[in-house]
């Protein structure tokens, strides 16, 4: 089941200079810390000239869709999913 959230979250990321990638590692949402095991997919989209990064990440029990606004540098949790049919 998936749920639209659209709330600001705190994110710890790591930048790997050899691979040239940013990897979200931990997310704090509603006072809980979620550790990320895997990035499923990263893509960008434009809203006007603003560049938005979308990180689809997951651990063993939850998948999260994160949005990073490169203009404001804010992170938003857009959606969560447990991978089970509703």
């Amino acid at each position: 089941m998936s749920e639209i959230i659209n709330e600001k979250v705190s994110v710890i990321t790591v930048y790997d200079s050899e691979k040239g990638v940013v990897i979200p590692k931990k997310i704090k949402w509603q006072n809980r810390i979620y550790t990320i095991d895997k990035i499923g997919y990263h893509h960008t989209l434009k809203e006007g000239r603003k560049l938005i990064h979308i990180f689809s990440v997951a651990n063993a029990s939850i998948a999260l869709k994160l949005r990073f606004d490169s203009e404001t540098l804010h992170w938003t949790l857009e959606e969560i999913s447990d991978g089970i049919a509703s």
């Binding site: 809203e47 006007g48 997951a58 999913s81």
Partner: protein, 415 residues
């Protein structure tokens, strides 16, 4: 004299991402991998399945089914709405990979592309090795869950047939040596361009299999079956001669919308038509054209339809100009029934630079400049930041969708 089979070495590759939208969602969300899922236009019972996953296809779930029907085949199927920015991103990434091998890359849709290796240095390598390398790079550079089927052959038609032989993760080569064996294994409707109606027409002339089709006489195909030069094109195509390497210029811009809530309410319909017209107008102006033709199509809940197009003497450029003509044509309907689908398109393009300027700025020119200014604001801050007033309260209508077929406008993002 019968034309022989094309005995040239294969130089055309057709790549088809398997279950593209569904696989993209499974790539993004690892918790969905290995499960029957489907991407549907709407996640409600009447929503149309756009892309079932490889696992869902094993239950008989197909593109075009309703969500309701899919749930009857597999109760626990996970239905997801489409995420067009993700699919566009994947499309652009795979085109970038393909361009490393040849400059002749021709995207055919959001999930298919043709690479023509003719006269390229890459042809010195075996194309099967290049195909395996492309598969490996797609997994490494786009996503480990993304798979594709690849067909290699002497023309685009046979390369596409090759890519359809084994799914998922197929790699097939068709040459003059195994062509007839391949035709023995497939049916007429497996050939790209032959649907059930063409099949019936072929059957009426004693052509029941692709092998019959290959052995049919050229004159029969031209003068009896297809009654046009199309018969000659099929005669060449089936033998491996290239006839499809033509890129057509865009002749229209269109937008269509399948209504979530069917209605005959004129205010709602005019708001939807305005939003469709605004989207169409933005694309028309971005391409540097004005248009002189408008076509409107309406499908009703009883599956009857109305459609009408006209060419006008004046060029249309602003959304307002386009919308006036859209409503003029829309109001020609004789019945006002409940509507389930709307389509607007514009045609007969005039390049904007050829529109005669006047010495003193007219109202028309001021309107055109205001439209260009609004377009610049929307380009800077995002779509629909400035909209016609009629579009208030239409935020959730006509959502972003991937069109079936050609993705010419995405190519501009690659250059």
């Amino acid at each position: 004299m019968e034309l022989p089979l094309n005995t040239n070495a294969p130089a055309v590759m057709h790549i088809d991402l398997n279950s593209c939208f569904a696989t993209a969602e499974q790539q993004a969300n690892p918790l969905l991998r290995g499960k029957p899922i489907a991407v549907a236009a709407y996640t409600t019972d009447n929503g149309c399945i756009l892309s079932p996953s490889i696992e869902a296809k094993k239950y008989g779930i197909k593109t075009g089914m309703r969500v309701r029907e899919a749930r009857l085949l597999y109760r626990k199927i996970i239905i997801l709405p489409p995420d067009p920015p993700k699919y566009r991103d994947i499309h652009l990434k795979f085109c970038i990979i393909f361009r490393d091998y040849s400059s002749n890359v021709f995207p055919k849709s959001i999930d298919e592309a043709v690479i023509d290796f003719s006269d390229t240095p890459a042809l010195k390598n075996k194309l099967t090795n290049i195909a395996r390398e492309i598969k490996s790079r797609i997994k490494k550079e786009i996503g480990e869950w993304i798979v594709c089927s690849i067909g290699i052959s002497i023309n685009r038609f046979l390369a596409k047939l090759g890519s359809s032989l084994h799914k998922p993760d197929g790699l097939d080569v068709i040459t003059y040596k195994n062509l007839e064996d391949i035709y023995k294994k497939v049916s007429l409707v497996d050939l790209y361009g032959i649907n059930t109606r063409y099949q019936a027409r072929l059957n009426a002339f004693g052509i029941f299999t692709p092998l019959d089709f290959l052995h049919a006489e050229r004159d029969v195909l031209i003068h009896q079956v297809f009654r046009s030069i199309v018969g000659h094109y099929w005669y060449l195509r089936l033998r491996g001669w290239e006839i499809d390497n033509v890129e057509f210029e865009r002749k229209s811009f269109g937008q269509q919308y399948a209504l979530g809530k069917w209605t005959s309410d004129s205010k709602t319909l005019s708001q939807l038509l305005m939003k469709l017209t605004e989207k169409m107008g933005r694309r028309l102006r971005r391409a540097g054209f004005s248009a002189r033709g408008i076509h409107v199509a309406v499908t009703y809940s009883d599956w009857s339809y109305f459609h009408h197009g006209e060419t006008f003497s004046q060029e249309m450029f602003t959304t307002s100009e386009l919308f006036k003509k859209v409503m003029f044509i829309f109001n020609k309907q004789t019945d006002r029934k409940i509507v389930c689908k709307l389509e607007v398109s514009c045609f007969h393009f005039v390049p904007k630079q050829y529109i005669p300027l006047t010495l003193f700025e007219t109202d028309k020119e001021r309107q055109w400049k205001a439209t260009e200014a609004a377009d610049e604001i929307n380009d800077r801050f995002g779509e629909f930041v400035i909209t016609p007033a009629l579009m208030l309260d239409t935020k959730d209508f006509v959502p972003d969708r991937i069109a079936f077929g050609n993705v010419k406008e995405l190519r501009n993002l690659m250059n």
